[in-house]
């Protein structure tokens, strides 16, 4: 019952975001600021995670493909598909749920407990629209770009680790990467990224926005934001895969 109550509050919160919009130039300035914060601010961690995800997946696939009947270039193909379809969008967004989600929840939560949100409301500003909508729009545009960047780096990481460890040569890896490529995989990955971006930014904003109390509650909201965002990502990973990849 509590779950449905919470879900109802979340939906009402989303409706409020779009109900009374503020000036476009103010919204645009805020959105650009958030794009910089979410996108540029996450480049470092996304780069690190992606390179190592690609590298590790190449080594592990190479370790498991011991049959002489399977050509080596298949490693490149499996690394490509597993990274584009799953690792890059899901792992990147799980990491972003931790980094961006906690940052959003604690920022809005702190504004709530220090009456900054009240100050906006008294001025006649729709605080939810002013604070949250730019974050959601920025996330929905920026996170897919980060995921695309992560895909590229994970394949580069995979190719380098394969060549350095002697598992597969660079030529063979590239040959595998190009074999039977289905462009829909990238489209599928973008669908996941946009969905995850919406989940991360909206769930985190919601938990930040309903914070009441003090520093302890801000910390709790931040934790809830990360936990529920991760749960949402995992749930929608399954739902989207079921919808689009079922033969």
């Amino acid at each position: 019952m509590k779950f449905f109550e919470e879900l109802g509050h979340y939906v009402l919160f989303l409706i409020r975001l779009f109900s009374k919009t503020e000036r476009f130039n103010v919204f645009w300035r805020q959105t650009l600021h958030e794009m910089n914060s979410i996108g540029v601010g996450s480049l470092g961690i996304v780069s690190l995670i992606s390179i190592f995800t690609g590298a590790v997946s190449t080594i592990q696939i190479g370790y498991q493909l011991v049959s002489g009947l399977v050509p080596d270039y298949i490693i490149g193909r499996i690394v490509r598909d597993s990274n584009i379809l799953e690792f890059s969008p899901t792992i990147t967004c799980l990491v972003l749920a931790g980094k961006v989600g906690s940052s959003i929840a604690s920022e809005i939560g702190t504004m709530k407990v220090t009456e900054q949100v009240d100050a906006l409301e008294i001025m006649g500003v729709n605080s939810a629209n002013y604070l949250v909508l730019p974050k959601i729009v920025a996330g929905v545009f920026t996170i897919p770009l980060l995921v695309t960047y992560a895909m590229t780096l994970s394949l580069i990481g995979g190719a380098i680790s394969g060549a350095m460890s002697g598992i597969i040569s660079l030529d063979y890896f590239v040959k595998g990467m190009r074999a039977d490529f289905i462009p829909f995989s990238v489209f599928f990955s973008m669908i996941k990224s946009v969905t995850y971006a919406f989940i991360i930014t909206s769930v985190s904003s919601y938990h930040g926005y309903k914070t009441e109390g003090g520093a302890l509650e801000v910390g709790q909201s931040s934790t809830k934001a990360v936990v529920y965002s991760c749960m949402g990502i995992i749930l929608f990973d399954y739902i989207i895969s079921q919808m689009f990849l079922q033969r």
Binding site: V26, T110, M111, E115, Q116, D118, E121, I122, M123, G124
Partner: protein, 242 residues
Amino acid sequence: MIEVKNIYKSFGEKVVLEDISAHFLKGKCNFVIGASGSGKSVLMKCMVGLIGVDKGGIEYDTKDFVSLDYDQKKDIRKEIGMLFQGTALFDSLNVEDNVAFPLRMFTKMSPDEIIERVNFCLNRVDLINVNKLFPSSISGGMKKRVGIARAIALNPKYLFCDEPNSGLDPITSRLIDHLIKEITLEYDITTIINTHDMKSLFEMGDYIIFIYKGTKWWEGAKADIRSSGNKELLDFMKASEF
């Protein structure tokens, strides 16, 4: 003038405000006093619309705020300035941007006009050369002044101050008090001040409303307090050594 009529507010089973009616005089410093937990802050939040009332009305110059729709309330809110207990300055904005915020949101002023108005408001509260400082790097008294500058940026008709000198040293408290009084008289603002600082009240109060356990216990001019014969009010003053 602001008038509250038979306001009721409860949180769950707990009744916080019960049948409160009062009026607040135009161009005067109206004080709402009472012990901690008496319902002063809830009354103020109800008056500015941050908390909805269960029953009763709030009139701003005869317009019933409670029954207005969002856009109509927004029009009245543009005429309200509020100084929060914790100042509520936006951490991510510097002093200049904090004061400029309502101007950028609600006026069509050019950037030069906005800066001119910001500097005027900051000068009015005796702050010079602090435009680029962030709230985290200024003192409590300066934050209160910036809060006042932001509150008066749009030339409000009503100024709400929630415990304006809490957490300040006595000298800075008096400076803030005098500043609020001067601004009230200069711009003919209806000012409502929540406090339990009796020194502030006796220095600058014009009209007083005493809240006791969620009900209005006494209302009248400052000069009438001592002769009010109201035991709770006199006890409250006595506890404050007045």
